[in-house]
């Protein structure tokens, strides 16, 4: 069980970094300075969880309890050019996609589990999960004056989170142990995301 928790924690760090890097990359694309980079990286990494906590009226926020993440993000933004260059050299695009999918899955599933713990009804808990997973990216896109990626409909993204949250709820009904529920549902999101990307699935319009 202890090993599982270490695994979940490592996944969380990986997920925050992957989301922050996607914010940095967007900032690079728009040629923003360190301020813009920090805003985008912060919103992408913590925006979804923060919005969920505002909706659920929970405090303190994750990034208030873990200030070390904010400091790391800040340093990353000061050296954004180098960070992105190193990332591009060391990490393949495929690895970034996988890390982002892990973030999408983990954040969504954690959001749903938090809402269920607060005795919120099932449908609301799924919405809170999807919001946690995808709204960081939405806020990043809105503040960048772009139509949110998840609304352009070229890939399955929110849909993967949605499926994973229901899988989590299914495992809850089957009384699966806590860490396994998180892991199983996150794996579902990652699986659906990667398969859908490979097979270029889209929702009908």
């Amino acid at each position: 069980m202890n090993q599982l928790n270490t695994l979940l924690q490592s996944m969380e760090i990986l997920a925050v970094l992957a989301f922050a890097i996607s914010g940095l990359a967007e900032a690079r694309k728009q040629r923003l300075d360190a301020v813009g980079a920090f805003i985008l990286a912060f919103l992408t990494a913590f925006g979804g969880g923060t919005l969920r906590d505002i909706l659920l009226d929970r405090r303190p926020f994750y990034w208030v309890e873990h200030e070390e993440y904010v400091v790391v993000l800040f340093v990353m933004c000061l050296f954004a050019t180098y960070v992105l260059r190193v990332v591009n050299r060391v990490v393949s695009h495929r690895v970034l996609i996988i890390a982002d999918a892990i973030g999408l899955g983990l954040f969504s599933v954690l959001g749903t589990s938090l809402a269920l713990e607060m005795d919120l009804p099932v449908v609301t808990s799924v919405i809170m999960g999807v919001v946690t997973g995808v709204f960081g990216g939405v806020l990043r896109d809105v503040i960048s004056n772009e139509v949110p990626m998840i609304m352009r409909g070229t890939e399955l993204y929110a849909t993967c989170a949605f499926i994973g949250c229901w899988v989590y709820i299914g495992m809850q009904w089957l009384d699966v142990a806590a860490a396994w529920k998180l892991l199983g549902a996150t794996a579902t999101v990652v699986g659906v995301r990667l398969v859908s990307l490979r097979l270029q699935w889209q929702l009908p319009r």
Copy 2:
């Protein structure tokens, strides 16, 4: 009195549907998939009330207490094409405008009455009312990367809500019974909205 409450409840259902359909129509215009359609329909229908509840620090949100609305919206989005086709065939544009005006009026007036119940001062209560009525549409437009309709100033919209909220407060001073206050102020909003559309009123710039 019972009949009045039934009337108010029917108006509420009508208003949520009208707002959701305006979100769906916007999604159609932008050729979004079901995810985008749900986000727009949800924001249009519940965004204003949710923002008001965040500002007033009220929980649970309306849509958490009435999950059935969220499920209905979800199903509508899955079949958005058919829903919009049926709506367009069965319901005239004029009926949609009226339903939307009822939503604008009812939501605004309910927002003001909630704020007054929490002993907020009058000006704040009017602002909360107008926010409830119009910010769903604002969020829909912002997330769609458009200048909000209410800021383009081609029609009176927020102004109608503003007038209705003051009428509600006036009736409060005159000690009018609760349901009649709601009905009277909502009718005022609908009236001003329809007359202003017909006569193409605009505010000066």
Copy 3:
């Protein structure tokens, strides 16, 4: 000490007016009517503080406690054309820049001091300060469908607030008296802002 408080209060009024006028000017540029002008003026003046209070879960909002500001803003919007004409005639561009810098400084520093009073950690308090100072403008730009000014990176803006918040924290460590801390840190922001504008400093990209 009493004189210092009067000074701080005058600075606050000046700051709210400066922010509101910058919202009005933006509304003018976009040829909005009174509704749009009020939304922009309100968001610019109170958006940052409201977002901070939502994040810190504080109520009532500043503008709920000081309804007179909302009324003044409202009247200004009704007569936006005249207000801007008078402002342009009486007040030079340079004075507006200075008033805006005072607002940026005062709001940021007050935000940080509030967060520290709530025993939030230092990094979070700085973020809350910067959010208070700059997010009114960000919301104004996002709702106007523009990339936020602070992200365009043509001037130092958020950076000045950031520096001032750290100066405040430094003075806190040195046990400087409350009003002097506010005044000193605000003066730092104003100084950095004006010097950086004059010397056209930019952050590297």
